[in-house]
Structure formats: structure tokens, C-alpha cells
Amino acid sequence: MTEYTTNNRFSSFSFIIPALVIFAVFYLYPFFYSFALSLYEGDGISTMRFVGLNNYKTALCLDREWWRSMYNGAFITFLALTLQNILAFALALGVNKTVRTNKIYCTVFFILPVLSEIIIGLLMREILKSDPGVFNQILGKIGLGGFASNWLEGEKTALLTTALVHCWRGFGWAFVIILAGLQTIPEQLYEAARIDGANAWHKFTKITIPLLMPVLSLVFILTILGTMQVFTMILALTRGAGGLTEVPVMRIYNHLRGGRLIGYACTEGVVLGVILIAVSFVTLYISKQMRKHYGVLPN
């Protein structure tokens, strides 16, 4: 080791001081602070009353609306996991087959994740909302007028519409990651399989899927984490539609905005965080078992 790296450890340490200070004040402290706050009741600024685990009791056992928002989040996540990721996978497979045009497709598909959730949410609100009824007009023009509906506020459609808009916004991002994964699979494997007489289906199930497993499980976990915490887009799109499309983080946000339920908002945050960590560990474990099963990644 060269001399300048070892001498004077204090001056070396000073390199990370700015990062450490900001991290301690704006991450570490709030992190533990939110556990502490979750045991209190009040607005967080003037009066706080210690209530022990009462908030947790409310959140876990009594608060139906909270679990309803969890259900809404889970529903959107389910559609994102299935519909969005299957679409992204199909598109990635397709684009991987094209030669000259693949750049253009990548560009187009990735525009939506680049733009802000507010822009996407407000734009789709204008299109879908029933007052000018643009989308209903389009349906009418292509002869599907019978399907016209109150997409954003209807009791049956609101949540589904929200989930579909979310998938539409998010597929480009999963697409890019899966495509990058596909391009790392060496061409020789397919070549060898072809010589051995494998058909397209065999190549897909015996080469593509197993080798893509790490990427797919990553996309899976990130979809769960991302979708369960989605909220800005839904705020712009439906504003919760009177609870129909309320998701967990939106509820927390509203508690905070209302200003009186800060302790409870922290409780809900902690509950959601613990659930998300548990779910991602389970997913990681399953994907590891599957990789073992395929024999791709023994360690």
C-alpha cells in the first residue's frame, strides 16, 4: 500500500464527513425517529401523547380502511407482476429478434418511465375522465361505445383503470432490464441447442428462462417494492376516488397533510415497511430455490 493512503487517518476520514453528516441527520435519525413517533399520538410539532403500542393495535386490527388500501396496493401490484411483466418480457423477446429497428423501440418504450408521475397522471386523467370523456369517444368511434364507462370513479372500474395506467407507465422500465438480461445470454448456447435439434420452445424453457432467472427475480422484487409504494401517479390520476383507489402511501400522506395523525402515519409506514421487507426476503428465497432447481447458480 502506498504511503499516502495510510498516513494520517484523520484527514482520510474527513473525506466522508459531509456524506456522513447528511446521512445521519436525514436518514439515520428519521429512521429511528419514525419508530419512536409511531408510539405517540398527536401532530408531532406541539402536543404529543405517548400511547404505547396503541397505534399498532389500531393499524393491525381495527383500521379497515388501512387494510382496504393495502388490498388496493396489492391488487395493483398483482396486475403489475403479471400483466406488466409478461408484456415487458414479450416485448423484450420481440425486440431482441429485430435487427435494425430495436433502438427505435427502446427509445419509444422508455419515454414513459422518464416523464414524471404527475405529468402521466394528469394526462391520463384528462383522457379518461368522464366529463369530456375522450376515451369514451374513442371507444364510440371504433364501435365499442357500449363499453363506455366512468373509468376513474366507477365502483367497478376505478381500481382496474388505475392498475392498468400504472402498468402502462411501468412496462418500459421492466422491458429495458429484461432486454439487457437477454443480450447477455451467449449466442453459442442457442447455436449448440439448434445443432442438438432443440425447437424454439425447448430453447426458450431450457436456456432463456433459466439464464434469465436472476434478472427476472430482480424485476419481480423491484416491481413489488415499487408498486406497493406508488402513490404520486394515483394522486394525480384519481385523487383516491373516495377510497376506491386509495393506496397505503396515499393514506399516510393524507394523515400527514391533515396534520393531526403524524404518530399513526409513522405506524402505518413501519407496518408497510416490515411487510415489504418480509415479502422481498420470501421472493429472494424462492428465486434462490428455483435457481438451485435449474442448477444455474448453486451457491
Binding site: M1, Y4, S12, I119, E126
Partner: protein, 278 residues
């Protein structure tokens, strides 16, 4: 011959599928721009589904004459610029130290940053908001500091792994020439990490530019609002003037789309890096 036809049909089906998905991505934006060019009467006639015949720019004029959109835009530029600058310097310094220098608890502290990156903290904005209230920092400074923290861990991680791949020879040479640690970082380390810095800059700039939650909690005055919060305000104030709102959305979206088309590689890298490690 049979093989040829089969291939052509396959490509035809494939491209039909891809193009129809691509159209669904672009369609709403074409509608948005088209609507923004219509008058309100034209819109109530055709709902923006016919080509804007009048091509009138009065919506843009109205939005731009009302100074608020400018204020929002400049605020967003300000927050983004300051935050990204802070993140670049702070995270590059730390990453350099983690990669090249030696100090007590080095690995423990780095592990701490890594863990912070992986633990999902839904509603992390609640304690941060309470904290800022207590510190009396519900202003530009507080917002910039909180946003700096949001991008810090990932940026340090990206830059540290990049530093690890660089050879040390140049730094040794600089040391022999009499540079101290800080000078080596500034003259050798920072310039050499330019490719990774580009990703860090794009990722953080988009992150700050698109941030909504904390800003909407902190800023209730127009003078401090960034663009995303401002767009919601504009929407709520002009809820029946569809063409006006579309003009505002177009003004907000087009610069980002142009930037994206010009720097596509960095955008994709930046956003997927954010997703993969964040």
C-alpha cells in the same frame, strides 16, 4: 421458399405487435400536443381527436404570460442544480475515500450506506417532514438537504465501484509530483470517473426534477414550489380549461423528452441503475 414466407409472416406479426404498443405509448402525447393547440370551443367539438385546424398558440401565451409557470420552472431548475452539485461533490469525495483511503470503521460505514440503500422506507417523508419542522428548515435549504440525502447512498455506491475498477498508477504519479490527497481527488479522481458521474448526474437530476411528495408537503407558496407541485396547482385552478392545462403539461414534458432523446444512453443507465441498486 417456405422458410422465407414463414419468416416474413413472423416478422410482420412481430412488428405489428411492437408498433401497436409503441403507438399506445406515443398516442396520448400526440393528443396532448394537439389539444394544446386547439381553442376551447374546438375542443368541446372534437375532444382533441381531430387535427387542430386553427393551430392557435393562445393557450401557450396564456400559460406563459401568467408568470407562475416560469417561477415553478426556475424553482425546479434551482433545486435540481444545487442538489445534483452537492451530491456529485459529497458522494465523489466519500466514494474516493471508501475506495482508496484508509480510516477506522471504513467497511462498517460503507456497509451502513449499502444497507440504507436496500431497506425500503415507505413514508420516510413523514419523519423527515417532522424533523424539518423542528429544525425550522421548511424552506429551500431544508428541501435541498433532504433531497441530497435521497440520492447519496446510491451515488456513493456507483462511484465507489467505478473507482475500484480504475488503475492507481495515475494517482501514484500525482502523489510523486507532490499532490496531497485532496488534490489527487480533484485533479485525477474526479475527471477519471466522468462516465460514472454522467449516470449519477442523470439519475439524481431526474429524481429531484420529478419529486413531488416532500415538495408538496413543504411548499404552500407559489414562490417556492417546484414544477411538479405547480402542475397540480395549475390543474386544480383551471380544471375546466382543458386546452390550457394541456399546454402547461406540454411545456413541462417537452424539455425532458428532448433531453432524453439527446442523452438516451445516460437516461437508461441512470434510471435502471437507480432501480437495480435502489
Amino acid at each position: 421458399m417456405y422458410y422465407q414466407t414463414k419468416k416474413i409472416i413472423f416478422l410482420l406479426v412481430l412488428h405489428t405487435f411492437l408498433i401497436s404498443v409503441a403507438l399506445s405509448c406515443i398516442g396520448p402525447f400526440i393528443w396532448m400536443i394537439n389539444t394544446s393547440l386547439q381553442t376551447e370551443t374546438e375542443f368541446s367539438d372534437s375532444h382533441g381527436l381531430k387535427r387542430a385546424e386553427s393551430f392557435n398558440l393562445s393557450n401557450y401565451k396564456k400559460v406563459l404570460v401568467d408568470k407562475k409557470l416560469w417561477v415553478y420552472f426556475l424553482n425546479s431548475l434551482f433545486y435540481t442544480f444545487i442538489t445534483v452539485t452537492l451530491i456529485v461533490f459529497i458522494s465523489s469525495l466519500a466514494a474516493y475515500a471508501f475506495s482508496r483511503l484508509d480510516f477506522p470503521f471504513k467497511n462498517t460505514i460503507f456497509l451502513m450506506f449499502l444497507t440504507a440503500m436496500m431497506i425500503p422506507l415507505p413514508a420516510g417523508f413523514v419523519p423527515v417532514y417532522v424533523l424539518l419542522n423542528k429544525l425550522g428548515l421548511v424552506n429551500r435549504v431544508g428541501y435541498v438537504l433532504a433531497m441530497t440525502n435521497m440520492g447519496l447512498s446510491l451515488s456513493i455506491y456507483l462511484l465507489k465501484t467505478f473507482f475500484d475498477t480504475l488503475p492507481r498508477d495515475l494517482e501514484d504519479a500525482a502523489h510523486i509530483d507532490g499532490c496531497n490527497k485532496l488534490q489527487i481527488w480533484w485533479n485525477v479522481g474526479l475527471p477519471l470517473t466522468a462516465p460514472a458521474l454522467a449516470v449519477v448526474i442523470v439519475f439524481n437530476a431526474l429524481n429531484v426534477w420529478n419529486e413531488f411528495v416532500l415538495a408538496s408537503l413543504m411548499f404552500t407558496e407559489d414562490a417556492l414550489m417546484p414544477l411538479q407541485v405547480g402542475l397540480m396547482e395549475i390543474y386544480n385552478r383551471n380544471i375546466i380549461q382543458h386546452t390550457l392545462v394541456m399546454a402547461a403539461l406540454t411545456i413541462a414534458a417537452v424539455p425532458i423528452i428532448i433531453l432524453y432523446l439527446r442523452m438516451q444512453k445516460q437516461f437508461i443507465k441512470g434510471l435502471t441503475a437507480g432501480a437495480v441498486f435502489g
